[in-house]
Amino acid sequence: MKSLTRIVALCLALSLVPLAALATPSEPASPSSPLVAGAVLLAQAAPAADAQPAAAPAAAPAEEKKEQAAAAPPVPDKGDVAWMSVSTLLVIMMTIPGLALFYGGLVRTKNMLSILMQVMVVFSVIVVLWAIYGYSLAFGGDGPFYGNLSKIFLKGITPESAAATFSKGVVIPELSFVAFQATFAAITCALIVGAFAERVRFSAVLLFSVLWFTFCYIPIAHAVWYWAGPDAITDAKSLEAVTAAAGFMWAKGALDFAGGTVVHINAGVAGLVGAYVIGKRIGYGRESMAPHSLVMTMIGASLLWVGWFGFNAGSNLEANGVAALAFANTLIATAAATVSWTLGEWMGKGKPSMLGAASGAVAGLVAITPACGFVGPMGALIIGLVAGVVCLWGVNGLKRMLGADDSLDVFGVHGVGGIVGALLTGVFAAPSLGGTGVFDYVANAASPDYSIGAQVWVQLQGVLLTIVWSAVVAFVAYKVVDLMVGLRVPEEEEREGLDISSHGETAYHS
């Protein structure tokens, strides 16, 4: 109890810090400063007019107004803002309750609440940290792996602040971008818990999530997604400058539309390492650990599928044809993967299962994530078909080979699916295969050149970087957390069930 009092006091003290940040006046971006900082345009639309001196001469007002209009920064389109708001809601729904129920149904009744808790609380913790420092470090400024703390506590971001999209002259409110990205960080960390379900200590999950978020999610998100935005690229020279300041993998030209590497490979690897470090569940291989409710799992998988349209199509940051492409691809690839996993299981094991169909859908969703805005619908179809069967192997043959108790197949589905998707993005983004190709922001059109081999090599580099970085950071974080609080609950608590031992509750009273 004494340590609980200390923790409460610490939280109360820490919450005073944001208040202090609010007190310090934020500096508005001066009109002449380059519109930079992490796919974010610091555009202050209204203050430019306010800065006009009161005694402005009446003469030549028309010319001045015309200049102002020409220099006036773009304002968000209401449709884009509405779309981004909806997309963010969809991604929140993907985690709570989508992922929570998908995972929850797969564990035994005695551990159902522990999964729901871990998902919901990790989600919440990461959103808080994102608002405090995550957004700033991921998208606050230039650098290969980290931004800076210029936007700590979201300093300087107002309703008028704008963030760049992938189209020149099109912006969305920066706060929309902050919120949208927050849900991505949060779901990534929540995904990991499936790998060590039914035996991990709750405090260890929270501490690990904080460490891994800070030292792995943020730098990988920054490395893959950070750039100054299309309006900063006007000629070859500015392209070079933007590339030099951008994230490490972005600069290399890696294509990851909605987070195949940043979210899925990242979480998959961290989960697998966790499964190894934490060890198998007691009774694994001997006792029945069958899912207690595939009904819940199917509900969760369905919520994930529906929500994923926000995840993928929302990653376009605006509501246009590319969003429609991402939307269609998310539908087609997922359906294809469901079919291919189901057929694969039917042929291989004799019966098609509900868990297989649900898992197939998720595998397709994972694989199309990096590809959705870059490949054509038939490319998406093929990606889905391939992901369905490869991930089926991932949770069977590969799982046996790896020998870890990755309880909810985080690596088998998200890790393997993410790798498949990332590599196939390099193939099917090719214009010759129906893809969009790579966009040339100097010419403001798709580049006619595309080398599948070269792009796949870049994709592979992104995959390898993510695997290594995630594995190393995760391993260290697990060890640190083990020293701090211990990773596993004691045997009796594991036998009794985490719901009672960790949370003092029972999910179902029979």
């Binding site: 797969l106 029945s288 069958a290 299962s353 868990l355 949770v395 069977n396 046996r400 197949d409």
Partner: protein
């Protein structure tokens, strides 16, 4: 007095109940149980994890019965619960020392 315990296939419960009513048995207690004899279980597959489930769902019914009725009760249960396939179940007969009707306090045969 005897206590008859019968483990039968769940879908046979209604038939057995009716057959017992037919010979004048007023009440039975039913529990859902799991068990196996010679009947094999089944295999469940969850992704890569295969589980062989030996136990099959069964229904256990218990009837407290007067000595004169025992043979007819056994016959009734046997006939109505039989399908002819493995897993039909078993009937056990125990000696019953005392029976009390809680509402009235009656004991012995009057309580049956």
């Amino acid at each position: 007095m005897k206590l008859i315990t019968a483990v039968i296939k769940p879908f046979k419960l209604d038939e057995v109940r009716e057959a017992l009513s037919g010979i004048g048995v007023q009440g039975i207690t039913v529990t859902e149980v799991k068990g196996f004899g010679r009947q094999k279980g089944h295999t469940e597959l969850y992704r890569g994890a295969e589980y062989v489930i030996d136990f099959l769902p069964k229904v256990k019914l218990e009837v407290a019965i007067a000595d004169e009725l025992v043979d007819r009760a056994i016959e009734a249960i046997e006939a109505s619960a039989r399908t002819g396939k493995i897993g039909d179940g078993k009937i056990f007969v125990y000696d019953l020392e005392q029976v009390v009707r809680i509402r009235t306090g009656e004991t012995g045969n009057a309580a049956l």
